[in-house]
């Protein structure tokens, strides 16, 4: 079974993000980048499916300029078989991403596309859904469990919905987007890193894919969250209750 996994390069959640003073974007100096954590979970799931079947292929795809090679190498070191880098140096909105991915899917013909439910940089949560619509494929978003049928023709996916779990099924091919609790991704091993050196990263230019990438969204401005004020220490419970009542007006 061939599984396509999408990989987006995003700022490391551990780094402090600073918004540029003119609000046009974030300061990118000294920022470390990682694979979008939800994509890492998607990749882990793909690797587990392949390991369980004892056969198959896990193919990574990332869109961006040559720096995303770093994230693709990490994914290959985790165990993916090969990667596709769609070269593109313009900012893309979710629909343009989905259109590019649709072309890659048509070309590669995977039975399953595993994606993160959202990227932690723009939190858009729509590329998976849009891709499913463009392809006319079934989709299961927010997956917390994926079970492949014995004949490998269908999947059952448990989804985390408000207040509970929903289990749905569909016939492959289809699209699954991962939620946080789907699995815990592995770390790349040293032999994995060594093997990744020899794995193929195929480069294609987004412009050659005949996908409509015209922007439909513009980012008007970014603002950092408001600074939290320092807390206050109180001496007694009475004082606390007084402040909650008079100052915070919550009781």
């Amino acid at each position: 079974m061939k599984v396509l996994v999408t990989v987006k390069r995003v700022p490391d959640p551990e780094t402090t993000i600073r918004v540029k003073s003119d609000g046009s974007g974030i300061e990118t100096d000294n920022i470390k980048y990682v694979i979008n954590p939800f994509d890492e979970i998607a990749l882990e799931e793909a690797l587990r499916i392949k390991e369980k079947l004892g056969a198959g292929e896990v193919v990574l795809v990332s869109i961006g300029d040559s720096v995303v090679t770093e994230q693709l190498r990490t994914g290959l070191a985790m165990g993916a078989d090969r990667a596709i880098l769609v070269g593109c140096d313009q900012d893309l909105d979710s629909l343009a991403v989905a259109r590019i991915l649709a072309k890659i899917v048509e070309d590669e013909g995977p039975q399953l596309v595993l994606m993160g439910k959202q990227a932690i940089d723009d939190d858009a949560n729509q590329a998976g859904q849009m891709l499913a619509a463009l392809l006319g494929w079934p989709q299961a978003t927010f997956a917390s469990e994926v079970v492949l049928s014995d004949d490998q023709q269908a999947v059952k996916v448990t989804r985390e919905v408000d207040g509970g779990l929903e289990t749905i099924g569909f016939a492959l091919p289809g699209i699954i987007t991962s939620d946080l609790r789907l699995n815990e991704p592995r770390y790349a091993s040293l032999p994995g890193i060594m093997k990744a050196r020899k794995k193929e990263i195929k480069e294609v230019a987004a412009a050659d894919l005949d996908a409509d990438m015209s922007p439909r969204l513009t980012i008007n401005s970014l603002e950092p969250p408001t600074q939290k004020e320092a807390g206050k220490k109180v001496e007694t419970v009475e004082e606390l209750i007084g402040l909650l009542h008079d100052e915070a007006k919550v009781i």
Binding site: A77, Y187, L190, I193
Partner: protein, 388 residues
């Protein structure tokens, strides 16, 4: 000259950092308190294939150089594990070189795979009560007996003897007064730590409690002939081969630990307010930290130079020794200054920096003392007369 890490080296550091993030400060603090060996950490390193980093690929390792091994060790120390983490894996990372280079095929086939998996630990048994710095004075003796040897004697400061099944054991096979040259007549064995013949007594140390260091009383320990490494009588030279890489790795560990101490001090100095402002605003706090950082960066450069020379098969005695000297000094000073910046809290275990201070102190003494490094530089680099 190229000071840029390759993509693969960057990836190695990144993945080691990710692995270490599973072992937070509390883990190492707790080990330092209980003295329990960091099994979980050790196993995670073995599972990740990291123990085989310098082992040739034909034996299942990654076949990388000391440059990469040093990056791994620096990263492990820098992530907060300090010497408890580094010493737990140090020997697996490099110390098997004599076995790989000079051991019998049978021994290699039998032991390398389980060592890489983390199933067999190995100790390095050289130092004796009457032979520390002056290794040639060892008196532990191996007498031929049947198809092998019977060994008797005493070793001291043997790290990880309690976890280890095997040890690289240096003994005399010709008494000191019967050899032409004092460095001859010693043999290296890949011996069992057989509880019937080896009594182990733990030493209580200043730091690094989780990784035991012991006295060994060896009484009629039998070693088969196939476990003699290389030729009889040449054991000292096999050990000499490994001392430069060992010094480079120790230096890398010191750089990592020192950087960790400074990072913690900087973080604290930004947050702690005294006299209405963060203490880091005072030059009295800021300058010592900045200076220590500068020294650590410089030591790191020497580590990388030494490692790079070694990996290219060039002589690196000068660089390896100097890197160990500078890194040990820089780490001790950095840890001391980190305590100082923390004020009274630096003296308290919850703040971790006192642990780095206790741990870093070891490297002014072992595996070679600072004095002996200076002897080396004085005599072999500067060409001054031998002072001892």
């Amino acid at each position: 000259m190229d000071f840029q890490l390759t993509d693969e080296q960057e990836e190695i550091c990144k993945q080691v950092r990710a692995l270490c993030s599973r072992f937070p400060d509390e883990y190492w603090r707790e080990r330092d308190e209980s003295g329990e060996f960091p099994w979980e950490f050790y196993q995670a390193i073995a599972d990740g294939g990291w123990l085989g980093i310098t082992i040739p690929r034909e034996y299942g390792g990654a076949g990388l150089g000391i440059t990469e091994a040093a990056l791994v060790m620096q990263t492990v120390a820098e992530c907060g594990g300090g010497t408890q983490a580094c010493s737990a894996i140090h020997l697996g990372i490099f110390g098997l070189e004599p076995l790989i280079k000079y051991g019998t095929q049978a021994a290699k086939d039998k032991y390398l795979a389980p060592i890489l998996r983390g199933d067999i630990h190995v100790s390095f048994a050289v130092t004796e009560p009457d032979a520390g710095t002056n290794t040639t004075q060892i008196s532990t003796f191996a007498t031929r007996s049947g198809d092998g040897y019977l060994i008797n004697g005493q070793k001291v400061f043997i790290t990880k003897a309690q976890e280890s099944k095997k040890m690289l054991l240096l003994t005399r096979t010709t008494p000191f007064d019967q050899v032409e040259k004092k460095t001859l007549g010693m043999s290296l064995f890949f011996a069992d730590i057989d509880p019937e013949a080896v009594e182990i007594q733990e030493l209580h140390k200043l730091g690094r409690k989780a990784v035991d260091t012991n006295m060994l009383f060896i009484d009629n320990l039998y070693v088969a002939k196939e476990d003699l490494i290389g030729e009889e009588g040449r054991g000292f030279y096999y050990i000499l081969d490994g001392i430069n890489p060992e010094r480079i790795l120790i230096a890398a560990e010191c750089v990592g630990m020192g950087k960790r101490a400074i990072e913690r001090a900087v973080q604290y100095a930004k947050e702690r307010e005294v006299f209405g402002r963060p203490i880091g605003k005072n030059q009295g706090i800021q300058f010592p930290l900045a200076e220590s950082f500068a020294k650590l960066e410089t030591a790191e450069l020497m580590v990388q130079k030494a490692a790079s020379l070694y990996d290219q098969g060039q002589p690196c005695g000068k660089e390896a020794n100097i890197s160990k000297y500078m890194a040990a000094e820089a780490a001790c000073e950095a840890a001391d200054r980190a305590i100082q910046a923390h004020g009274g809290y630096g003296y308290i275990k919850e703040y971790d920096v006192e642990r780095y201070w206790r741990e870093a102190r070891l490297f002014r003494i072992a595996p070679i003392s600072q004095e002996m490094v200076l002897n080396y530089v004085g005599e072999h680099v500067l060409g001054l007369p031998k002072s001892y």
